[in-house]
């Protein structure tokens, strides 16, 4: 019984990580209907950037994120402005293929620079610290921080979307780019800002990816799939739905692992397919598309 309760708690915390992976994807889906196949590889890229900043300046990864985030904001802004904006328009294929090409370029670029070795972000004692809850169950400090950060990111994104001028521009452009343009909004600029913001979220996700487990250049696509599953399970267009989707996925994986350790990933995928079969629009849908 304790083992199962423990699995549920760990699943909830793991869900925080998946919600962080998914939040950036959800943001891009929401604003520009762009499906970014390089999302997972971008998370891994950001983790390597944090690693380099940590090593080069001897900083704590939590501090290194503060340096990496603005750099990645600019990178995201530039990527959208220079490359991805050209692919948007009626046709589905260009954004998919360009981001797919990007995914392969990032993976192999990282492989060339950092080799296939596993890496990890180090923060000292806090890594293994845990808070006992009694009854033989304990929660790790880092997993707990992950979930709390995920909630904070969701709250912040909701605040930006529904309480600020730029958020109004995001929503307006998302609803109808042409009408938004008539209202004096430069939708290409708005898209670039949205991608920059998504890259900041990616940086935060990368921090916890690197703190919780080893990473190497090849693990990006799997993170993309988790992020995507969380978004679809939660329902498109709702950040809180994305958090819920992440948690459902995390729970499914730890419950699967509890039955048989080899079933962890498979159980997550099957939960996603089950949601798709029963509630194709996700658990908390908001958007139509």
């Amino acid at each position: 019984m304790t083992a199962w309760l423990d699995a549920l708690i760990q699943g909830l915390l793991l869900g925080g990580l998946y919600a962080l992976f998914a939040a950036g994807l959800s943001l891009i889906f929401g604003v520009m209907r762009l499906v970014n196949l390089a999302h997972g590889d971008l998370i891994v890229l950001a983790a390597f950037i944090i690693l380099v900043v940590t090593d080069r300046f001897g900083l704590n990864p939590f501090v290194a994120v503060l340096i990496a985030a603005p750099i990645l904001f600019l990178a995201g802004f530039a990527l959208q402005h220079v490359l991805l904006n050209r692919t948007l328009g009626g046709d589905l294929l260009p954004p998919l293929l360009v981001t797919f090409g990007l995914s392969i370029i990032i993976q192999n670029g990282l492989l060339q620079i950092f080799s296939a070795d596993s890496q990890r972000l180090r923060v000292g004692a806090i890594e293994t610290a845990s808070i006992p809850l009694g009854g033989g169950i304990a929660v790790g400090v880092v997993p707990l921080l992950t979930l709390l950060s995920a909630v904070a990111v969701i709250v912040l994104l909701n605040f930006i979307f529904y309480r600020t001028a730029i958020g109004r521009a995001f929503r307006g452009t998302s609803d109808d780019p042409e009408v938004a343009q008539l209202m004096g909004i430069d939708h290409q600029l708005i898209f670039a800002v949205a991608m920059g913001l998504a890259f900041v979220v990616i940086t935060i996700a990368a921090l916890y990816l690197g703190l919780r487990a080893n990473f190497d250049p090849s693990i990006g696509p799997a993170r993309l799939l988790y992020a995507f599953e969380a978004v679809i399970i939660g329902g498109l267009g709702s950040f809180w739905g994305t958090l819920a989707g992440g948690i459902v996925l995390g729970l499914a994986q730890t419950i699967g692992a509890q039955i048989d350790p080899e079933w962890q990933i498979l159980a997550g995928h099957l939960a996603f397919l089950a949601v798709l079969a029963i509630r194709p629009r996700g658990l908390f849908p908001r958007a139509q598309d």
Partner: protein
């Protein structure tokens, strides 16, 4: 001309498909096919193996092109059916004792049976979401086969020599071409690959020339308009998805008969069986039958001369794909055919006016 054109009897229209270029292309295609079929008599084993690779990549690209270029089903999960076909071949021959050549069409049939329920789930996702959904399904297939212990689980398994040499006709080839057993097996695989590639081309061509093909072309050009004209989009897409899964499964079975060793990570590799195939189709020209042919030949040459550069080669391939998508979205064939108004596989119908004045003009 004033009276005649208006009253009509002298001015009629006919629908033309094959142009002069296409007829010449059909004739040369027959000659090329014959030459390729006879090639093992003179070619070395290396060339034969490289051509097997070219043939199955071309066949896979042609299938993906039908799926993505015509039916608008952009799948990033076709490795599901390559791996499934491969594993079915291993299961049928190793566990079921079926002859390998018979196992190839059976693998296609079973792949189609798997594709139907798969489609019912992934078709709930639209457009770009469909793409990632198919990828998830391919991962599910990979993880399930990694759990299947009779075929080696996560590490995979090999075909026994008694199976690889039980392909019918192998003795005949050994005597005819004076070869050892492994080389004779390659020659047989080569012929099967050539046949499968030709069958794929013929299959795609006949579909596109049929009434269904007209509907597919309409979907490619404008899905909403096609639906408005009464095209049953859902069922056509479903049929294309299942049919390409069957073809892809057969190609997968052939690939792994030739490789004689299978593992889940290799058989369900997104890079080998989907990324390369997408680049072939896009670089050559998506939405045409000629595109994948051009793309496969370019890919074969790049693979041959650049694959040793490893990661750099893949970076180059990714960059090339992006550049083509941005600056020549119809691919290399698109550039050629626009410039010279050329078609090799005449799948388009043209309206030709014929009347006295037209003949004069």
């Amino acid at each position: 001309m004033t009276e005649q054109g208006a009253t009509g009897p002298a001015l009629s229209f006919r629908i033309e498909t094959a142009g002069r270029g296409a007829r010449a292309a059909a004739a040369s295609a027959c000659i090329i096919l014959l030459a390729l079929a006879l090639l093992p008599a003179v070619a070395g084993r290396n060339l034969i193996q490289e051509l097997i690779f070219l043939f199955y990549m071309l066949a896979l690209a042609q299938c993906w092109n039908l799926l993505a270029g015509y039916a608008g089903l952009i799948s990033v999960g076709q490795q599901a059916f390559v791996g499934l076909g491969g594993y079915l071949l291993f299961a049928l021959t190793l566990l079921g004792g079926v002859n390998p050549l018979l196992a190839i069409p059976l693998a296609g049939l079973v792949s189609a049976m798997f594709a139907l329920p798969t489609a019912l789930i992934v078709f709930r996702l639209r457009g770009a979401y469909f793409a990632i959904g198919t990828w998830v399904v391919a991962e599910v297939y990979r993880l399930v086969f990694a759990q299947f212990k009779p075929l080696g689980g996560g590490t995979g398994t090999s075909l026994t020599p008694s199976i690889t040499s039980s392909v019918p006709g192998i003795e005949w080839v050994k005597i005819l071409l004076d070869l050892r057993a492994p080389a004779a097996r390659d020659v047989l695989s080569y012929w099967v690959a050539l046949a499968l590639m030709t069958a794929t081309l013929a299959f795609v061509y006949l579909i596109l020339r049929s009434r269904r093909g007209l509907a597919l072309g309409a979907i490619r050009d404008h899905e909403t308009a096609a639906a408005g004209l009464g095209v049953d989009i859902y069922h056509i897409k479903l049929a294309v998805y299942v049919a390409t899964a069957a073809m892809t499964g057969m190609i997968g079975a052939l690939i792994y008969l030739q490789k004689a060793r299978i593992s889940p990570d290799a058989a369900f590799s997104v890079l080998d069986w989907t990324a390369y195939v997408i680049f072939i189709t896009v670089i050559g020209g998506i939405g045409t039958m000629e595109g994948p042919v051009i793309g496969a030949i370019i890919f074969y040459l790049m693979q041959r001369y650049l694959a040793d550069f490893g990661a750099w080669y893949l970076i180059l391939l990714g960059t090339l794909g992006i550049l083509v998508m941005l600056f020549a979205p119809k691919g290399l064939w698109g550039l050629v055919s626009e410039r010279f108004d050329l078609t090799l596989f005449p799948t388009r119908r043209r309206l030709v006016a014929e009347g006295e004045d037209c003949h004069r003009a």
